[in-house]
Every structure is written in structure tokens, then in C-alpha cells.
């Protein structure tokens, strides 16, 4: 007579996915420039908006983008969230600020971390600048920038966010 067993209601079966990413021309150019500590975008020949990271086309106009534009590592806070839970696979400790930032010279935001700031004082229109890792640690990654920190410049009015020239903001 067989022993009575607990029913098996489930097992853990993790799946790990490892991909080889084929960057394509535009992201490859972007990644090789950020390897040298330079943020670059591409300008749409039709609407003249500058994309970072560039994907080789303008999703609004449906045309190829080729003109490379060197951007500033100063940026403006378009919006943000203060996150109180950890990110799976990322050692960062909450609370931390994930901000949608528009680099001077670009017309679209990317997300990055904000630090060296008082969380409660972060606001839309705030001026920030990249804090880079030491040069010897640079790789083909946006993580070459550790985070962005506030700088002593006047706020950008909401209607001007995403329209600043690469020369920056005079206030």
C-alpha cells in the first residue's frame, strides 16, 4: 500500500532569457558616443525634433533620421516619480527618484535617476546635470551617468520644457 502524499499543486520553474542585442546603425552610433562620455541624438529632417536615444527614424513623421546632434549633459525635469519599492534586478534602495529628463538640445525625454537632492523639493522644470562615473568605467551604456543632480539655474517654464537649445538655459 502506497503512502499518502500531499498533492503537488505547483512547482517553481524559473526561465532565464539572455539576448544578443543587435543595435542597428543609430543606437550603435549613440552607444559608441556615450562610451566616450558624449550624449548624442538625431534630428528628424521633417519636423526637426531631436531624438535621444536615436532609433534611426522619427516615429511621428515616419522618416529616417541621419543628422547627428551632440547634446548637453544638462537637462530639465519634465516629470518624475518618487519610488518606494525596489526594482527587480537592481540593487538600488528606495526611496529613489526616477525622472523624465530632457537634455538641452533634445526634444524628447529619457528616464534616469536623480540624486544629491531633497526628494520633497524635486519639481517639474527643475534644472539638473549628469554626474558621470570615472572615465575608466565607461562602457556602451547610459549607466556611464550615475545620476543627475540639481544645479543652481532658474526653473524652466513648463511651455519651454523640451525646446531648449544645446547652449542651455539663460533663465
Amino acid at each position: 500500500m502506497s503512502e499518502r502524499q500531499d498533492p503537488v499543486t505547483g512547482i517553481e520553474a524559473p526561465i532565464y532569457l539572455k539576448y544578443n542585442f543587435t543595435a542597428g546603425a543609430a543606437p550603435a552610433r549613440f552607444l559608441s558616443q556615450i562610451r566616450k562620455g558624449v550624449l548624442t541624438g538625431q534630428r528628424c529632417p521633417r519636423c526637426e525634433q531631436v531624438y535621444i536615444p536615436p532609433r534611426g527614424s522619427c516615429a511621428a513623421c515616419g522618416v529616417a533620421t541621419e543628422e547627428e546632434v551632440v547634446l548637453s549633459d544638462k537637462a530639465t525635469v519634465e516629470s518624475f516619480t518618487i519610488v518606494s519599492i525596489p526594482i527587480p534586478g537592481n540593487p538600488i534602495q528606495p526611496p529613489y527618484i526616477v525622472a523624465n529628463l530632457v537634455a538641452d538640445g533634445a526634444n524628447i525625454s529619457f528616464i534616469h535617476l536623480m540624486s544629491e537632492c531633497v526628494n520633497e523639493e524635486v519639481h517639474i522644470g527643475q534644472r539638473v546635470q549628469a554626474v558621470w562615473k570615472p572615465e575608466e568605467e565607461w562602457d556602451y551604456a547610459m549607466d556611464n551617468i550615475r545620476y543627475f543632480k540639481p544645479i543652481d539655474e532658474p526653473d524652466v517654464p513648463v511651455e519651454s520644457i523640451g525646446t531648449l537649445p544645446v547652449s542651455g538655459w539663460e533663465g
Binding site: P27, Y51, P53, I108, I124
Partner: protein, 388 residues
Amino acid sequence: MMANLAAVVGIGQTKYTTKRHDVSIAGLVREAAVNALEDAQLSWDDIDAVIIGKAPDMFEGVVMPEIYLADALGCNGKPMLRVHTAGSVGGSTALVAASHVQSGSFRRVLTVAYEKQSESNAMWALSTPQPFSTHLNAGAGGYFAPIIREYMRRSGAPYDAGIKVAVKDRLHGARNPLAHLQKPDITMKEVEESFMLWDPIRFLEACPSSDGACAMVIADEGLAEQAPRPPAWIRGVAMRSEPTMYAGRDEVNPQAGRDCAGDVYRQAGISDPRRDLDCAEVYVPFSWYEPMWLENLGFAPEGEGWKLTMDGATSLDEGGDIPWNPSGGVLCSNPIGASGMIRFAEAARQVRGDAGDHQVEGARLALGHAYGGGAQFFAMWVVGADKG
């Protein structure tokens, strides 16, 4: 556009809950399908095709689940099609099923959508690293929180508009025995004091993680007229998409959502949605999306959606003129892949007069809505008690 008339003749749902220990994914979808067939008083042999939808495969780690679910859904010898449009998939799956019938190619189609979140890790699946970006994706809430912050800024809405939605939808859900969260005693204070997850989104302003499935049987005009229970006539169907990111994109009030609403209203002969519709089931996974979608869907002028919320216009309990999410909505039950179809099915229940304690009295015309991805995929239908 020429389309044949089609109608919902059967609806089946499971009780939404944190974890369905007792069934597999196959058992879950079959339960909803059997409930829909029973509601329609039909059997498997009466079904000509099966359309199934769910959110990304990575959620449960079951890749191409339609292959495994074909026999549970009686697909032997029948066409089967799987649909995927991220969070809006439940809505777009219903629309693919509807188009099978509206085209005249099929007379009766079964459609099912599901998610078994207890077997998945949706937060992980939505937080995969990308090679040209920093790894800061903190789930759906982390993505939508900055968009909500921008809405709050530009509308000047009072800080507690989202809190009001969170309370209102939970009170609605307390009328719906299928709703996952049952919080009949919830208060504004309780929501306000709940943990701030992704500022400005609090714990109680976010949807739960649910197991569940929803199914419908859609039939052509002739068969729907013979149906034993009142049909919900499909009066308009629309889908729209836009890229996740492009310069100048309005993420708060996406163009694709406005266009989709305009299209479905035109088909249904709706000129003023607040006046012409009796209720709406709208995809609101975070509380602030009620005022945002009130504007996107044309129920209120831009910047004023929150006024309808604060005035109680969207509340059953306050006798509002345009109840939103009388079932409790996504804020009460969120089996992700099914959530859009539940909105479509609950809209149909309202015009069939079959919504129990959350019935909007005399409802004749209702909107079902779903959105997904980075608020870039939209699916909507309008269903009516009459053919129109």
C-alpha cells in the same frame, strides 16, 4: 464601413481573487467559457471559432499559451486565433471576435481572455533591462506616475481627486460579488494614509493582482434574435494605436484615445457621450486615470475631468448621471489580460439589464474601454439594448 449586426448573447466570468489554487490556467479559461455557454444556453458544438487573448507571455512564463489551451476551449477542428495588445488585449480580443461575426464569415464565436497573476510576476516582466537605457523600470506604476503628476499639474485638480476615485470604485465593487477587492467600509482617510508606492500613486489608488478569466459568445443578427436572454447589440467598434515615444507626444491625453473614441461614437450615433451614454466601463488601473480618461473620451472638457469625479457624476452611490465602472473596475479586479474584456462584458451586462446590485437603472447604451502598452493601444465598443 459595412458591417453585419452582431450581439453578445452569453457572458461568463470567474470570481476574481488573489490566487485560484484549485485550477490550472486551462481550468480557469474553461470555467469562464462554460459559464458563457450556459448563459447563452449553447454547447461547444454551437461555436464556429475561438478567439483568445492574454497579456505578455512573460507574465506567467507560459510561452504561446494558446497552443496549450486549444483543447480546454474546444478548438478541435475550429479556427483559433490569439490576440495580444498588452493591457488593452481583453478589449481588442473581443473586437477581433466581433469582427469575425460582423464580416459574415462566422455565425457564433467564443472569445476568452485571462490572467493568472498568482503564477506570474508581472512587475518583473514589465521591468526588463533595455540596452540603451538605464535599468529603472519599476513596473507599470513607475511608468504612469510621472504622467499622472503632469496631469495634476496642468489640470490644477485637487490632490484628493484620485483618492475619491479609489473610494468610489471600491464601493461599486462591494456591490459586485465577482469583484476581487471587497471593501464596503473604505474611507478617503484610509486611502490617503495608505503606503505611497510611486508618488503620487498610493497603494489603495492602484489595482490589485488577480486571477481570473472572462468569456463572451458573440452571435450574428439572426441567431441573436433567437437567443433566450436579451442580447447586447454591438453598435460601434474601434481600435487605435500610436508609438510609445515620439517628440511632442501628449502622454496625458493621447491622440489615439481621442481618435478611437471619436470613431466609436460616430458609429453609435453619439454626439455627447455624457448625455447619450448611460454608463461606461473604462480601464482605470490607477485612480487618476478616471479624470484623465473623462477628458480623453470627451465626457468633460480638457482640464475638467476631475470636476465630474468630485461632483459624484461617475458614482452610483451618489446618484451620478454617468456612472463609471459600476462593477468596481480594474481598481477592484485586475487579471491583466482579462481586464479589458471584463470592461466590455460589464458594459454588455448593463444593457442586458443583468448587472445585479451594480445595475445602472434603465441602462440602454454603454461604453466598454481598454488601453494598454504605454497608453498607446486603445480598444472600445458601444453596446446597446436596441439594434440602433
